[in-house]
Symmetry: C2
Subunit: 248 residues, 2 copies
């Protein structure tokens, strides 16, 4: 009881509750398990359960609060040298990392949330908070730019969707295989759609009439794009250009 006391290993009881809860959840189902069942199995008082978990749902996601804090810290520690889209992609990878830390637990939880509507709803609110954190960061980075808030919201949503797509596919395979590769590919798709080039590797040889991507510090705002569909009437083109360039 010397080093691990104050620094890390706070609650043996909390872990006992999580273990007891998951045993019962997998045995007889989530809704068929009452909080009283959990606390009697764990051998603690009912009141103590709600001291550690504000609701019965929270015991299913015991470490998301910490992960969310990590993500906000990660984003808060960003500087202007970081390309924004790439930065939120990296932030999303933190979540995957948490899942990958404990594959069997994550797979168990995935099966649970997949078939219990209440848990799915709760998970949505958790995911929403991640998305909000990403969007808030992007809003700061895009501030002043055209459609900054819109871009921030859309990109955050796209990053979360891509991450979850890859995460779920990894979870469906029982945590086999390399999760990072899948998620890298998914996030790469989003970066290709919204971001600056991921890593200016050796590909840009031909498209370089003068300026190489020197610091990769170019912003997406540098390029605003207006493509006219073939056959579109000119007044539509003009209108779109006007709104794109903005008059506010």
């Amino acid at each position: 009881m010397s080093a691990t006391d104050k620094a890390e290993a706070k609650p043996p009881m909390r872990d006992a509750l999580v273990a007891a809860a998951f045993r019962l959840f997998t045995e007889r189902g989530y809704e068929q398990t009452t909080v009283d069942d959990i606390v009697t199995l764990a051998g603690v008082g009912r009141r103590s359960f709600f001291r550690y978990f504000p609701s019965k749902d929270d015991v299913v996601f015991p470490d998301h609060e910490r992960c969310l804090a990590d993500m906000t810290a990660f984003l808060g520690a960003s500087g202007p040298e970081h390309e924004p889209v790439r930065r939120v992609c990296d932030a999303a990878r933190l979540v995957l990392l948490m899942y990958a830390e404990n594959p069997s637990f994550s797979v168990q939880r995935y099966r649970l949330t997949k078939q219990v509507p209440g848990l799915r709803a709760y998970e949505l609110s958790v995911v929403w908070r991640y998305e909000r954190a990403l969007a808030e960061y992007l809003r700061g980075r895009f501030a002043g730019g055209r459609d900054g808030n819109l871009r921030a919201d859309v990109i955050a949503a796209a990053v979360v969707a891509a991450h979850n797509n890859a995460l779920r596919s990894w979870l469906r395979s029982d945590g086999q295989g390399e999760a990072t590769a899948t998620v890298d590919h998914a996030l790469g798709y989003v970066q290709a759609a919204f971001g600056s080039p991921p890593a200016p590797s050796a590909d840009e040889r031909r498209v370089e009439p003068g300026n190489p991507p020197r610091g990769a510090a170019e912003r997406p705002e540098d390029v605003v794009v207006i493509v006219s569909r073939r056959g579109a009437p000119l007044w539509r083109v003009v209108q779109e250009i006007e709104t794109t360039l903005g008059r506010d």
Copy 2:
């Protein structure tokens, strides 16, 4: 009690419950209002409340179920002639339409959900179902393509995020102004990022100049634009064009 009975006005009681509920919610707050308060004000039995609304939350979103059914019907009635991304954007407009049908009610609800975490969570699950509907449709359209499921999920999320961004900005302005213009612009952004150019009709080079909005039937999708800011590196322009046009 002749014509409106079976065809339309089914539940006077349901509407009375919604009205009573919103009166109390706005007067004393959502969590401070019990279901018993609502039913006594509406003058009906407690049991009847849960006959019409499966939960207390549902009374806040009385017409989303119908709107979701409309959306799935709309998507189900799609054909191969519809460009997928544009189609889901149009589907999203259905939701905006529902909000715009009853601006004052929508604004009231917006203020409510903004400050009651439980309602926000419930709204997330509603939005999630819309997003799933869009994603399912896109999965069908993208089936067989490279990264079909990933693209479907990401685009659905982006469309929903853009729609909600515009919707919220309209709701924040107390329902003043034209909602459709805002949402068109937001969805246009997503289409610019993800939409593929529609069927390559023959004429491509020239946009007919001097065309007045004849039928005003042109949609924003007709024009997608790519403008390079001066000084932007060419590789950025090319990249942006490539991702906009899509390479799958």
